[in-house]
Amino acid sequence: MSAPAIDPVRTPVSTTPARKSAGQRRTTPARFDTALGWSDRPGPAWALRVLLCVLALGVFAAPFLTIFSGSFSEKASGSTLSFLPHHPTLLNFQVAGERGIWDYFGNSLVIAGGGLLLQLAVCTLAAYALARHKFRGQALILTLFMLTMMLPEEVIAIPLSLVLGHVPVVGVDLKGTVWGVILPLGAWGFSVMLLTEFMKDIPAEIEEAARIDGVGELRMLWQVILPLCKPALGVAGVLGFIMIWDQYLLPLIAAKDPTDYTVTVALSILRTDPEVGSGVVLAGAVIALVPSLIVYLLLQRSLVTGIAAGATKG
């Protein structure tokens, strides 16, 4: 079930079966299993490792607990953060709601959902052409998609805002609509590369057999190739979602007025509002955090394989 093609590292980071199948001997003592030779029996080294793990958790995970507790605290401020809320209340969320946080959240959901769907559709179609067809200029197209990956959004932000205000040829103004954010996210080089690599590894026999049965191009993609690409689609989906949810500059420049903001951008509105305190900002932060948290916890494995695979390709 694991995805061999999207995983040039060969051994996924956290899957025991894969490591076994890679010919690792499980009979060797645990201390030969890690670079530092950690022992799995209690002892001074073991105690040190536990201590360091607690430290790592404290530095990288504990801040999340404090923002959760702060968002439920009656009087949260920078000086009263702790791991447990004092006087638990939903007041902060209520105030954030009055400031329209759910509208911003709605914008975010529409953009994330629509953007992801469009991105997956566009990238799958492109990858299908690149992987399963031979045509002139193939290498050039591949380079073009790779270039989109190298073109940082930040660098084209200023001219992009002009383009969004007046799309050439059609002449429509996308600013202030969700399309202003969704459409620029459509062609993502990373997804195209990932899906292309994966589709290339699907044996030609499967395709030939389907062709003999008279399967057309669209059905070939939809019913033959796509079901085989599920692992890669999972990776592209989860990385795509996180990338879209993290967008900051794009929703900022595509907005006509602050009501068009996504929830992440709207956090700055809450922060600069003199009438609301830190607790409300934290409530907003929690609302902006929860969707990525859910996606991460559900699709953790795809995410980790995806990052490892993407990195080895550069």
Partner: protein
Amino acid sequence: MTATVTTPGPRRARIISKKAVLPWLFLAPGLLLALVFKFLPMGKGVWLSFFDVRPFLGDKWVGLDNYTRVLTDHRFQDAIGHTLVLGIGMSLGGIVVGSALALLLEGQARSLKFVRTAVFLPVVTATAVVGEMWRLMYYPTSDGLINSGLGLLGLGPVPYLDNPDTALWATMAMGIWMLAPYNMVIILAGLAGVDRSLYEAAAMDGVSLWQRLRHITLPAIRPALGIVLTLAAIRGLRVFTEVYVLTGGGPAGSTDVWMTRAYTLGFTRNDIGGASAASVVLLCVTLLLTVTVNYLRKRGDVR
């Protein structure tokens, strides 16, 4: 999307071979979007960088004026320094902390898996959310979260983001915090590829831990480290959101980086020409760096 795919009628298919047209139909949506929203803005940016952009009055050709103006502006010159410090510091810090995390958390145990899951959280969190979190953790009085920790160690409260001397370092710390777990995953993948029998053989030869790391582990994860460093360096140059949400470039411009300067110039002061010139400079530097690194890496592979 699907509508465009079904357009070639049987007649047209007979004129141009169907097989040649088909891939282009599948590519069309992606190419169109990339063209309109990536390459067109890029071209427009290069074009506008040679103009004095005046709404309603028409653009005026000014040659390289925008470039000289940006490059001689002392705030941009300061920003170059901040960008380099931040980029290099975040890349190196991310590597060091990421490697440490990977070495610490390597292994199959369920508890380690849990710790890895928790430590990875900063990567999936949107930068804007991270910014708000850190802004509160950096609370400048002695009962702020980090300052009270320092208090336990007997150190006085540090005004992190409010002081021009510390704000850049505080931003760097947040950047490392976001980058290190990402690097950890990549380095862990490299560590998983190390041949376990080498560790066993080394133990039999009585090799010290340091030698073992230096001669067995490091060569195996060197490619991973190279990739991590390149990605971080290129990302470091165009750092924007981290700075924008945490400090907005302040206090007193002490954390202003290249892209926040360009943003201010373009959107706050409406100097589109100057902002475009600044973007083009950054684009050229990024491309140059990418090409150089790829060239060096290819040469390294051949050797």
